[in-house]
């Protein structure tokens, strides 16, 4: 079984895993990092959304082999110690979560969006395809507008 070295939330890790093992299960089952959630396993619901070298990915469909020597950031790696990332803070200010299961993915998708686009339009916010079954989409929009205002 091959060994992969990568950085997860700034920490260097080494894992023995089959090359086709999705990053989600490396994170959850081997590294105990449970912020990224399983929702569908096929990249459709985006509950697991995290970052690879700063770009948005769905770890349930990205094999570990594609992550070798790269930097993975999960929801756990977003805050700076006790200081929340501005997107996390906006989520709290708008009381965005209902059940909260999809929110790590929603937040990571938003962080990726606002990093490259300081003031996303309504149409660009519409393009966030993460599913929220509780339906808190209006608050997600409010939180994005708050953080980019």
């Amino acid at each position: 079984m091959p060994t992969y070295k990568l950085f997860v939330n700034g920490e260097r890790v080494s894992v023995d895993a089959p090359a086709d093992m999705p990053l989600l299960w490396v994170l959850r089952d081997m590294l105990g990092i449970t912020g990224p959630k399983y929702g569908c396993g096929v990249g459709a619901c985006r509950a697991c959304t995290s970052h690879l070298n700063g770009a948005e990915i769905q770890p349930c469909v990205v094999p570990i082999a594609d992550c070798a020597n790269k930097h993975v950031t999960t929801i756990e790696g977003l805050a700076d110690g006790d200081t929340l990332h501005p997107v996390q803070q906006a989520w709290l200010d708008e009381d965005v979560p209902q059940c909260g299961y999809c929110q790590p993915g929603q937040i990571m998708a938003t962080v990726a969006l606002v990093k490259n686009n300081r003031q996303p339009s309504d149409a660009e916010i519409d393009a966030i395809a993460n599913v929220c079954r509780c339906g808190t989409y209006c608050r997600i929009r409010r939180a994005i507008k708050r953080v980019t205002a």
Binding site: G32, V42, P97, C99, A129
Partner: protein, 723 residues
């Protein structure tokens, strides 16, 4: 736990949702006050069978183990710990209950911490029917007031002053001379005060500063940092990932299995045949899933292998009798409405961890019915109920899904077979194809009128048989005694009330006994039946050439309904000019002791890709506890309306559910959501407490369908429209 004293209290209002209860001081080193709901009105049979004493208001109570529904504990570090029997699946009940405590304890809301209680076989430990806040409103406030009175008394005795000179705020007692003491510092003394020197009466509504003031969910920070543990996130040492291969058709069976390839695969630990399929346990879920793919299973048929959508429609139509004859010279409006099956589809699939030992078992999962989960797990693995512990974790949504306990039972069965802890995860396709659904339904309706007067309203409905399981909504319903052929028929008759004066009403629902995995879905029959009734109001308005909202106002049965509808008309700028292909739609509903109306504006300029652009909900909740939580519930209800009317449902092809994930079960996303949502709360009345989880679903569902029909000049009748 023993009781030392029982200051009982009287719930003022009898009737559904305001249950009798008793509060009492619990003997403990630190101040602990508990309340339990009376079992006189609750069919929690094991509690009754166990012979626990019935304690009702006004009766003296002997020192015995009463059991508890709610427990409040003040710790020495000045925290208020609340053991909540109400599972939180995102509806925000933990926060709402903490608000009730903060209000009558005069504690800072941030000092009150709700914890989800383990299954304890006591009345009131279930979530459903939008009863949680109605159950809790009186006993929890009373419990907090009892605790406050003891803390004040403890401070008075410590300082040698009269208790009635002291005040409380910010989780502390304050004296006129400036002295103050935190509740935490008084908790040990207060624990032994049996007879407080001040009254222990909850505040009047006019004095509320927490109840009615918007508050954010307590769990927010844990959620946004990824720290909130859902079932599969609980770090149970050695619990191995497990998935289950399931039959291609609903309730199919395992006929034969060849697991040789799977067992030889890297990471695979065990293959276990269980009643629902073949479980593969491995080092990681990836390896378990690969092992599952490599199984060679011969499957036996299920009970609905010969049933497809066309069969369902035919059987539903056959189950509806003809309308009765019309009076001479009368006019009528007819409607036929059909709703497809639809999954609950919570983001967290069915999941549970179980650790079964020789004589005991522990389960971790989200469940709205912890006692039922415990009973079913115990039965499945041959242990006594008392040997099973069920820890309730936060749930990633429910909408009715977490009233059944399939994953918990499977986890226990596999753990028992392997002699080690396992974590069972249903994949999304498992949950879509074998998880529960709202039953498909059909509704035929006729409104008859004569010379401008409403003569009669007939609503003859049918639905595939609904498995209510242990849903608390059916508590106390005996269909036979009430003269109904099934629980579904009885529940329909009891709950489906039309808020308009339409003359003589005839309503009935017949169930079609097809064995599908169904469950109550947020608002049960109201989400489709009442939505269809609202569409009949649109049809009636169209026929009478009247404004649909104006007609509703004129036919509404009572003044509060008219007031809410008028407010909706004003706030929505009803009738405002809109672009071609756009329209407003309206829906209204009364249930759960409350009222909700909804107006949405839809852009259906492309009828195949309609979008609800804005939504307004007006609600009369009696006493709104957390306006911010209510907004969340109603926002979600609007999305349920958009989902079930415009987009998402399940097809049945020869006993198989066609959809498999969020790729083809097309639940709405951000681009389908209104860009603007607004909630208007009617003034607090104080006469009732309304349940919030379901009430806006029928109104919003109706409004979306109504708006689509008005925008496109059609009469929509089969849902979801884009299917």
């Amino acid at each position: 736990m023993t009781t030392t004293e029982t200051p009982t209290s009287a719930p003022a209002v009898p009737g559904f949702g305001r249950r009798r209860f008793v509060t009492f001081l619990v003997a403990a080193p630190t101040l602990t006050v508990a309340a339990r709901l009376g079992i006189d009105l609750i069919a929690d049979t094991p509690a009754l069978a166990a012979g626990r004493p019935t304690q009702t208001s006004g009766e003296a109570t002997t020192a015995t183990n009463l059991g508890t529904t709610y427990v409040l504990r003040v710790t020495s570090d000045n925290r208020i710990i609340f053991e909540s029997p109400k599972a939180d699946v995102g509806q925000g009940i933990s926060t709402a209950l903490a608000m009730l405590i903060a209000e009558d304890l005069d504690a800072r809301l941030t000092d009150v911490h709700s914890e989800l209680a383990d299954a304890a076989n006591l009345p009131g430990q279930s979530v459903g029917g939008s009863v949680s806040i109605r159950d809790a409103y009186d006993p929890v406030r009373e419990m907090a007031a009892q605790a406050r009175a003891r803390l004040v008394t403890a401070a008075a005795r410590r300082w040698g002053v009269a208790a009635d000179t002291l005040t409380t705020h910010d989780t502390a007692v304050h004296a006129p001379d400036g002295r103050s003491e935190t509740y935490g510092a008084l908790a040990a003394d207060a624990a032994s005060i049996t007879s407080p020197d001040v009254a222990a009466t909850p505040k009047p509504i006019s004095a509320h500063t927490v109840i009615g003031t918007p508050a954010s969910q307590q769990e927010g920070r844990a959620i946004v940092t990824g720290a909130m543990p859902f079932a599969l996130d609980v770090p149970v040492a050695g619990a191995l990932p497990t998935v289950v291969a399931r039959p291609p058709t609903i309730y199919g069976t395992v006929a034969a299995i060849d697991a040789s390839v799977t067992k030889a695969m890297s990471g695979v630990v065990a293959v276990t045949t269980i009643p629902t399929g073949v479980a593969v346990t491995a080092r990681t879920f990836h390896e378990a899933l690969r092992g599952r793919d490599a199984l060679r299973v011969t499957w036996g048929p299920g009970p609905v292998d010969d049933v497809s959508d066309s069969t369902v429609t035919e059987r539903l139509a056959q189950a509806i009798p003809p309308f009765v004859n019309l009076p001479l010279l009368s006019n009528h409006v007819d409607g036929r409405f059909e709703f497809a099956f639809v999954n609950h589809a919570p983001m967290e699939t069915n999941a549970a961890i179980a650790d079964v030992r020789q004589n005991s078992a522990v389960v971790w999962s989200s469940t709205k019915v912890p006692n039922s989960t415990r009973r079913q797990v115990a039965k499945a693995i041959g242990l006594s109920e008392n040997a099973v512990t069920v820890h309730v974790t936060r749930g990633g949504g429910s909408f009715g899904r977490r009233l059944s306990s399939e994953a918990q039972i499977e986890a226990a069965q596999v753990s028992r077979a392997l002699g080690r802890p396992v974590k069972v995860m249903w994949t999304r396709d498992d949950d879509t194809r074998h998880g529960r659904m709202r039953p498909a339904s059909m509704h035929r309706m006729r409104i008859t009128y004569l010379a401008g007067e409403m003569v009669s309203f007939q609503n003859l409905s049918s639905a595939v048989q609904l498995d209510f399981g242990v849903s608390p909504v059916i508590t106390g319903i005996d269909p036979g005694a009430l003269g109904y052929p099934s629980i579904g028929s009885a529940f329909f008759a009891i709950t489906q009330e039309t808020p308009y004066a339409l003359g003589v009403e005839t309503k009935a629902l017949n169930e079609v006994p097809l064995k599908f995995p169904t469950a109550t879905w947020r608002s049960v029959y109201s989400g489709h039946n009442r939505a269809a009734e609202e569409l009949m109001m649109d049809r009636l308005a169209s026929k009478l050439r009247k404004d649909p909202l104006g007609l509703r106002i004129s036919l509404a049965k009572d003044q509060p309904a008219k007031a809410l509808l008028r407010r909706l008309r004003t706030e929505s700028a009803w009738g405002t000019s809109l672009p071609a292909g756009w329209a407003q739609g309206v829906g209204y509903h009364e249930e759960y002791n409350g009222r909700a109306g909804c107006v949405v504006t839809i852009d259906a300029s492309d009828p195949n890709a309609p979008r609800v652009m804005s939504a307004l909900v007006a609600a009369d909740m009696g006493v709104p506890v957390n306006p911010r939580g209510l907004e969340a519930q109603f926002m979600g209800s609007v999305m349920d309306g958009i989902g079930t009317i415009l987009r998402a449902g399940n097809h049945i092809d020869s006993g198989r559910v066609r959809e498999s994930s969020f790729a083809d079960f097309t639940w709405p996303r951000q681009r389908h959501a209104p860009r603007d949502f607004r909630l208007v709360l009617m003034p607090t009345t104080g006469t009732s407490i309304a349940g919030a989880g379901e009430i806006a679903v029928p109104a919003a569902t109706a409004a979306v369908a109504s708006a689509y029909g008005r925008a496109t000049g059609t009469q929509p009748w089969r849902f979801p429209l884009n299917f």
